[in-house]
């Protein structure tokens, strides 16, 4: 994480803001959006009424102090739940503010095609006045006022405000690198930029709104979970209401406070109170990973991805091919071969040429300067398919494809060394490219060029496979090379000699089989595929078209970012699932605390159910309600950070989470309630 705004979980200013908001959120109209907590609010209001009723002289409901404490704890429960949501929102807001700083009003040089005085007159206006389609000018040292696409010029741009990356990037009109983001700074040259979004509708604006919770819509999974929780709430409403005639029959007098305590303890307040905080925290985590998601649904869908398409170059392999080995022919010293190779590459500007020098080592290259004088570089041409150097002393060094060098060798009447011939074959079959070297028509050895697979990439693919995500490599290489690299990098499938429409076809085929497909792309020709994919992540450096088509934008332009996005999506669902399980599992212990307490006076035999040996019916009920309240703030860190995702397979993951949150959810409240009961007994 590069941005400085990595806030602590309980940052002081955020906490203060969140506490304020927890009271504001008590407004029933806001509360109503969360059915579980709304019923708690109704219960709390009822308890307040009971307290007042007792003050007016009612005797049947127990002591005023006891009823007041129940009311007070319920009130705290509400505040805790609100606090969780408010804290998540405050963290989101803090994150958004740091982004928004980059978007403060900046002057913009609007180019008016028909100005007041002359054509293309420049008028300085505020950035907020820019409209879609306007063209503005931006020169060195100025902040770009608005997202847009360069229509004229080329410039280096400092994007550190958005990406945190300090190295400047080049953006130019036309091509795939024409898009600029508002808030970034032009370092050199000047560009004309066409505004591509209406004010307030840029990705950043959308993301800020999402993180702040203002425009947060519930995702389909969240809606389904809300239904489940509403169902649980309903069942406990039924239980608590029917308990009244049951107790009439059992001749047990149950005060109102006990019904409300039972109800509040049983309904899933833990997950109900934390649900929206979990959702906001998920969006916040995406933003912290420098990913702008256009909706919460996109992040959740990412967790379900089955297949993802990945470009080979720059993702799986490091840029271009690199020289990895020198193999001298029989009778040639390795040092001589290396020297010849280095000489032939001195003037070679291609990445391959540079990598040969790199492999040769400084020691050799530094000695070469004496040879350089008067040397003539022979550039690569399509006819000769070789390149090299003619030295002043007449020595000719050539390097090139096997058959081209073989011709030279044969012409000079030299025998092609058998060991080199074998070496050439071996290199080819290993997915490398052999580059044969000849000195004055005599073959002296071969250089192996290899695609370098990024270190650690296999493990990442392995990790993805365990998550159930299949990786597909997209490359322009021929099928043989592609297959070799695919195997070596450990991807599951590849598209060789890929054209842009191939990606589209592949995505469609996968989707037809019912799979969810993700891809990353930057170019305009990626746009249709980005739109077709279920999760399309556009690079921030990419064209506007690509960004419009995808449903996420990666500010870091990091092709491996998808892994993090998938994990964030999974974490989001898991946190909801585990806390739901925990919440429901807690009810077992709460039943054993409250049910004996309700009936112990009228049915002494039920003392047998008081397995925790709680002190008295009052302390039992208070302990259960207190436990129910304090578990919410205790779980806030987990809700905001998310449950750790481990790619160990679905069944193993379920076992693990069932053990921790299911069994743990049954056992912990037994211990917690007992401890609280001891404390409550001590203080009362």
């Amino acid at each position: 994480m590069k941005r400085k705004s990595q806030t602590q979980l309980f940052d002081k200013t955020l906490v203060v803001e969140a506490i304020k908001q927890s009271f504001v959120k008590l407004n029933p109209r806001i509360m109503f959006r969360n059915p579980v907590m709304f019923t708690v609010e109704v219960g709390t209001a009822y308890m307040l009424a009971v307290c007042i009723w007792i003050l007016t002289g009612e005797k049947s409901q127990g002591s005023f102090a006891y009823n007041l404490s129940v009311f007070f704890i319920l009130f705290l429960t509400l505040l805790f739940a609100n606090f969780a949501e408010a804290l998540a929102e405050a963290r989101g807001k803090a994150q958004a503010d740091s982004l928004r700083k980059t978007r403060e009003d900046t002057p913009a040089k609007l180019i008016q095609p028909m100005g007041d005085l002359y054509v293309n007159e420049i008028k300085i206006i505020s950035s907020s006045q820019l409209k879609k389609g306007d063209v503005f000018l931006c020169e060195a040292g100025e902040i770009i006022p608005m997202d847009g696409e360069i229509v004229e010029g080329i410039a280096t741009i400092d994007e550190s405000a958005i990406t945190g990356e300090s190295a400047p990037v080049i953006r130019e009109a036309g091509g795939d690198k024409s898009s600029v983001t508002g808030g970034t700074k032009v370092l050199s040259d000047k560009i004309k930029v066409k505004v591509t979004t209406e004010p307030g509708e840029s990705f950043l604006d959308k993301m800020i709104a999402l993180v702040e919770g203002a425009s947060r819509q519930k995702t389909p999974n969240e809606i389904a979970l809300t239904i489940l929780l509403a169902g649980f709430t309903l069942i406990f409403i039924i239980i608590c209401i029917t308990l009244s005639p049951f107790s009439d029959f059992a001749k047990a007098e149950i005060p109102i406070s006990s019904y409300i305590a039972l109800f509040v303890c049983l309904i899933p307040t833990t997950i109900g109170g934390l649900l929206s905080a979990i959702g906001i925290a998920g969006m916040d985590r995406a933003l912290r990973a420098n990913v702008i998601a256009k909706s919460g649904k996109a992040v959740e869908t990412a967790g379900d991805i089955d297949t993802r398409l990945l470009d080979k170059t720059g993702t799986i392999t490091i840029g271009n091919r690199k020289a990895t080995h020198f193999y001298p022919s029989t009778g040639i010293a390795e040092a001589d071969l290396i020297q010849a190779c280095a000489l032939s590459s001195l003037g070679d500007e291609t990445p391959e040429g540079k990598s040969i020098l790199e492999l040769s080592g400084k020691e050799i290259t530094s000695r070469l300067s004496s040879f350089v004088k008067g040397a003539v570089l022979i550039k690569f041409t399509a006819e000769t398919r070789t390149s090299g150097v003619n030295l002043q002393d007449g020595m000719q060094i050539r390097k090139g494809a096997y058959d081209a060098i073989r011709k030279i060798s044969d012409k000079s009447g030299n025998v092609f060394p058998a060991n080199t011939e074998n070496q050439v074959k071996e290199i080819s079959s290993n997915g490398g490219t052999p580059l044969v070297v000849a000195q004055d028509g005599k073959v002296i050895g071969v250089i192996e060029l290899q695609d370098i697979i990024k270190p650690g990439i296999q493990e990442r693919f392995q990790r993805l496979r365990k998550m159930g995500v299949k990786t597909v490599m997209v490359t322009g290489d021929n099928p043989l090379t592609a297959k070799y690299i695919a195997e070596k990098a450990g991807v599951d499938d590849f598209i060789a000699e890929a054209k842009p429409e191939d990606k589209m076809t592949y995505i469609r085929d996968e989707q037809h089989k019912g799979k969810l497909v993700a891809m990353m792309g930057d170019g305009t020709n990626d746009a249709p595929a980005l739109a077709q994919a279920d999760v399309g992540v556009a690079m921030n450096s990419g064209t506007q078209a690509a960004k419009e088509a995808g449903n996420m934008v990666d500010l870091d332009n990091d092709p491996t970012k998808l892994i993090e996005i998938v994990e964030i999506g999974k974490q989001l669902l898991m946190t909801r699932g585990t806390l739901t399980t925990f919440s429901i599992a807690n009810d077992v212990a709460k039943y054993f605390a409250i049910v004996p307490a309700l009936f112990i006076t009228s049915i002494p035999a039920l003392q047998a159910l008081n397995v925790m040996h709680l002190h008295s019916p009052q302390t039992a009920i208070l302990s259960a309600v207190i436990f129910n309240a304090i578990i919410i703030p205790l779980l806030i860190p987990l809700a905001l950070k998310g449950v750790t995702y481990k790619p160990i397979g679905a069944s193993a993951l379920l076992r693990r989470n069932l053990l921790y949150y299911g069994l743990g959810g049954i056992i912990i409240p037994f211990i917690g309630i007992k401890l609280i009961d001891i404390l409550v007994t001590l203080f009362s």
């Binding site: 979970l225 489940l228 069942i235 107790s247 967790g303 669902l573």
Partner: protein, 573 residues
């Protein structure tokens, strides 16, 4: 080992051993595959289809299948009402039994059409032979209905993406003709050879050893007992059901009848495995159901065999265990097994009086009905289990970080809504029913037309046991079980009508819900499995389903059980 316990183990093992091949056969029947019985059944079925003008090959969607089911059930209900309220003058009434009152006829018709067989009458005096025969017909077709609609869900689970979910009429006829009828004939023959009556003559006159003359009710008993056991019906020919020697003469018939209770419910699970070609899934479901079943049956046998401590306190030895309300020829272990069998499967026939069981046994019987999915009723037991699967899939899907899916279909808000409503319905009906009755009893309300006398008078036992009686009655109605704690005075308009309404709702809504979910899922796009998919046919997922059932049912009924059987238990011990 104790022979009684060996007997119990034998009965259960034989049930499972017979259910596996039967499941294979059922799967073939529903899959339309060829069996060697085709040459007997094809002509019979052809006659049915020709008369009814039904094309058995015409495929229907889930809604059409449900409409067919509901319409045909309504017709049966009306027919049943007509016969029961007029049987005094209709033929086949040699004993001259009277017609039923409208509220009792309503209760009885609903009860038999809904496969509940709650009986607020005694067969020997309350029905003519025509009445018995018409109820026997419902025993066939209500069981067939459950199996047929279960098969519709099987088909929905099998199809990758389809709206063509078989033909309800075809599946119904096949269930009755090819599955229920042949097995019933075998069971009836065994009963017949062991002495169960099968006649259309009126009461027999017997001279006892003392020289008294006695009138003994008989009738077409063997046929009815066979189908009442096999079709999870439970409505006996006589009031005292399978505890009467005429219905259940000896230990052998008891074993056969006991096996008959759980045979088809278990076979349906294996049929699902064969039908979907997912045997592991069937074993997972069977494993979960059996684990629940065994957890209920062991304590029941234990408490029944150990007798009543209150009697022990009086210094009376109980070498046979708790024998109150039990038949000596069966003993406490076999009776306890039957009690759990019959309540888990929504059968409801009895060979002992559940009212006289120990409190824990009574509670376990109620728990079986509260879950109603440990094997469950023929066809519908799996539908109830399906709801628990959907809820378990949803929670566990979230727990592994993936949008929940079951057999390649996504579970979304709509399915969850239906699943939650259906899950809520059962506790809602049981708890509100019991709440109403206990309110009236607690306040000793005068009932007017609804009940002759004040409400508390319908309880023969006050206190915890009285509460259990009311709870049991509504649990039995809502689980479409039909057994009862017979101390309750339930033959009156109040109980007839409230139980009737509950039976109706509890029969048809839990059929509509799962079929709707299965139909909606069948329409969805099929998602192939990947390493991230949570597989449904694993022991881990089985554990999850089991935990969901345990926690959901436990949480729903704990307070009610605490006030009834648990309070009684802890007061006794």
């Amino acid at each position: 080992m104790n022979t009684e316990i060996l007997g119990v183990i034998f009965i259960f093992a034989a049930s499972v051993a017979l259910a596996i091949p039967l499941g294979k056969y059922i799967s073939k029947v529903y899959g339309g595959e060829h069996t060697w019985l085709d040459r007997f059944f094809n002509p019979v079925e052809k006659i049915f289809f020709r008369i009814a003008g039904i094309d058995p090959l015409k495929q229907m969607g889930w809604k059409q299948n449900l409409i067919a089911l509901l319409t045909i059930n309504l017709i049966w209900f009306i027919l049943s009402m007509l016969v029961l309220t007029n049987m005094s003058w209709l033929p086949l009434n040699p004993d001259g039994n009277p017609s039923m009152s409208p509220d009792l006829a309503f209760n009885t018709s609903v009860s038999f059409v809904s496969n509940t067989n709650l009986q607020h009458y005694s067969g020997e005096s309350g029905l003519s032979y025509l009445g018995q025969l018409i109820l026997m017909l419902w025993q066939f077709i209500s069981a067939g209905t459950g199996m047929a609609i279960g098969a519709v869900v099987f088909i929905a689970m099998k199809e990758k993406t389809s709206e063509q979910l078989g033909n309800f009429y075809n599946l119904l006829v096949k269930s009755c003709v090819r599955i229920l009828l042949p097995i019933s004939i075998i069971v009836a023959l065994v009963l017949l050879f062991r002495g169960t009556p099968m006649t259309f003559d009126g009461k027999d006159t017997v001279v006892t050893l003392q020289g008294d003359t006695m009138q003994v009710s008989t009738g077409p008993v063997a046929a009815m007992v066979a189908i009442k056991q096999l079709g999870t019906n439970g409505g006996g020919y006589f009031g005292a059901n399978s505890s009467v020697p005429f219905e259940n003469p000896d230990y052998l018939t008891n074993a056969v009848e006991n096996i008959s209770i759980i045979l088809i419910p278990i076979a349906m699970i294996f049929a699902l495995g064969y039908f979907l070609k997912r045997k592991k899934l069937a074993w997972m479901i069977f494993g979960v159901m059996t684990a629940g079943f065994i957890l209920l049956v062991i304590p029941t046998i234990y408490y029944e065999m150990n007798g009543n401590p209150a009697i022990a306190h009086m210094g009376i030895s109980q070498p046979l265990g708790n024998m109150e309300g039990k038949e000596v020829r069966f003993g406490p272990a076999a009776s306890a097994l039957w009690e759990i069998n019959t309540t888990n499967t929504s059968n409801g026939s009895v060979n002992s009086m559940h009212d006289s069981s120990m409190p824990v046994s009574g509670m376990n019987a109620m728990l079986g009905m509260m879950v109603n999915a440990f094997y469950g009723g023929v066809g519908v037991g799996f539908l109830n289990f399906y709801i628990f699967i959907i809820i378990a899939v949803f929670i566990s899907g979230l727990m592994v970080g993936r949008t929940p899916e079951f057999l390649g279909k996504k579970i979304e808000a709509r399915e969850m809504k239906i699943a939650m409503i259906i899950f809520l319905l059962h506790p809602f009906l049981i708890l509100t029913g019991t709440a109403l009755a206990s309110y009236l009893a607690a306040h000793d309300t005068a009932m007017g037309w609804w009940y002759a006398g004040n409400a508390s008078a319908w309880l023969n036992n006050p206190g915890y046991h009285g509460f259990s009686e009311m709870l049991y009655e509504y649990t039995s109605s809502s689980a479409n079980n039909g057994s009862g704690f017979e101390g309750l005075g339930d033959g009156n308009p109040f109980w007839n009508i409230t139980c009737g309404v509950i039976m109706l709702l509890a029969r048809f809504l839990p059929i509509i819900g799962p079929v709707a979910i299965a139909g909606l899922l069948a329409k969805k796009k099929y998602i192939p499995e990947s390493a991230g998919t949570l597989k449904a046919d694993t022991a881990t997922f089985g554990m999850m389903v089991f935990a969901v059932i345990l926690v959901l049912v436990g949480l729903s009924f704990f307070p009610a059980l605490a006030l009834g059987p648990l309070a009684e238990h802890f007061s006794l011990y």
